[in-house]
């Protein structure tokens, strides 16, 4: 699968389970994985590494915030984490002692520095109310455990798509939130907050085109998530 129109960098293992793993070095996604279970951390780490992601795994929401530099009790002089690497995706367990994945999600989405980072929630409980709550709070996706290759592939696919669509990132995310919101009451929290952030963060894309795309129909790939299909059926 050539990403740059020509050269595809082959990793030492080209295929696992039929998934083509060829990818470019420059497109390495850095994932912050959060789970209190050591077994689950080991599994998610391996799953992510198969897709050539760089993985930082921590065992609590608190440590995740510390890594991001969002922990109130630790004054971070630097704007980035321990090793200064930008986090492209956060994947977190829901049920954790101390801070739940939901609380972590809220903290990330409340922060101006990190709210654009997609957050995926994992949970062993397939509860509609829980899924809804997370998606409403801005979660990108919700995976029911145990996590499989196909789950991770879906997430990495749209994360790399977002990274590649650099300047259109704001529009794409606002578009997805638009889809999640469309089936609910007129909350408007996310949609109303997207114009200001578009204006402040966009470089070359015009603000008006990003706002327009917030209400445009989504591309087929965003509807692939079984969680979204489930969610839309349940709220109708």
């Amino acid at each position: 699968m050539a990403r740059n129109g020509g050269v595809a960098w082959m990793r030492t293992t080209e295929k696992i389970d039929g998934y083509d793993l060829s990818t470019s070095d420059t497109e390495e996604v850095h994932v912050l994985a959060v789970d209190d279970s050591l077994v689950d951390r080991k599994v998610i780490e391996r799953l992510l590494r198969i897709f050539s992601c760089k993985v930082t795994a921590v065992d609590s929401g608190r440590r995740a915030l510390q890594y991001l530099g969002l922990d109130e009790e630790i004054q971070k002089k630097e704007t980035n984490g321990f090793d200064g690497l930008k986090v492209d995706l956060i994947i977190t367990d829901y049920c954790m002692p101390g801070m739940t994945g939901y609380e972590l999600l809220k903290k990330v989405k409340e922060s101006s520095a990190f709210r654009e980072i997609p957050v995926v929630i994992m949970s062993s409980e397939n509860v509609i109310a829980r899924i809804d709550r997370c998606l409403e709070e801005g979660a990108e996706d919700f995976i029911v455990k145990p996590v499989k290759l196909s789950d991770v592939k879906r997430i990495i696919d749209y994360t790399t798509t977002e990274l590649r669509e650099g300047e259109q990132r704001e529009g794409a995310r606002a578009k997805r939130r638009g889809i999640n919101k469309r089936k609910q009451r007129e909350g408007d929290d996310d949609l109303s907050s997207s114009p200001p952030s578009t204006l402040s963060s966009s470089t070359s894309s015009s603000p008006s085109s990003s706002i327009q795309s917030a209400t445009a129909p989504s591309s087929p790939s965003t509807l692939d998530s079984p969680t979204r299909r489930l969610k839309m059926t349940s709220s109708e």
Binding site: S37, L38, K42, P97, S124, K145, P146
Partner: protein, 153 residues
């Protein structure tokens, strides 16, 4: 070469029997698929972590159930939740099912029922550990004999 083939056949048969007996489920197969030349012992490594986890949690629950002044069922419930999660992640189906049964007795705060469930859980764990260790030993024997581990898909 014949010896390696024999071992490989034994490995495949034994692996199939684990699935047939419900010791492991599809998630175990999923984890097997994550093994390659870079990570040839991934399943063995995860299993080791799981064994440690399991032993610790079973021990904690045994202690909690022994408390004369009153059993902390909330703690028991947390242990069951953790064990159910990790057994599900590794594909240890019978251990996971034992956890599900255990949970209903813990919810009902039924100490006797919990003790029975804990015993059942310990039994399932021992069974799993023995069987997986046999499987991993076969793997090591195949590699030592110069063969490759059959990838079961």
């Amino acid at each position: 070469m014949d010896f390696v083939n024999q071992l490989q056949r034994k490995f495949i048969d034994y692996s199939s029997s684990l699935h047939r007996e419900g010791i492991v489920d599809d998630q175990f197969t999923q984890l097997r698929k994550l093994e390659d030349e870079n990570s040839p012992h991934f399943v063995m490594e995860v299993a080791s972590l799981f064994f440690e986890d399991c032993e610790k949690l079973i021990n904690n629950m045994a202690i909690a159930l022994e408390q004369k002044q009153g059993v902390d069922f909330k703690q028991i419930d947390e242990c069951i939740h953790q064990l159910k999660g990790s057994s599900s992640s590794i594909g240890a189906m019978r251990v996971k099912n034992a956890c599900i049964a255990f949970r209903s007795f813990s919810d009902a705060q039924n100490r006797e029922g919990c003790l029975r469930c804990l015993q059942q859980l310990s039994h399932e764990y021992s069974l799993l550990k023995n069987k997986l260790q046999t499987l991993f030993l076969l793997e090591q024997q195949i590699v030592a004999a110069g063969g490759s581990i059959p990838r079961v898909h």
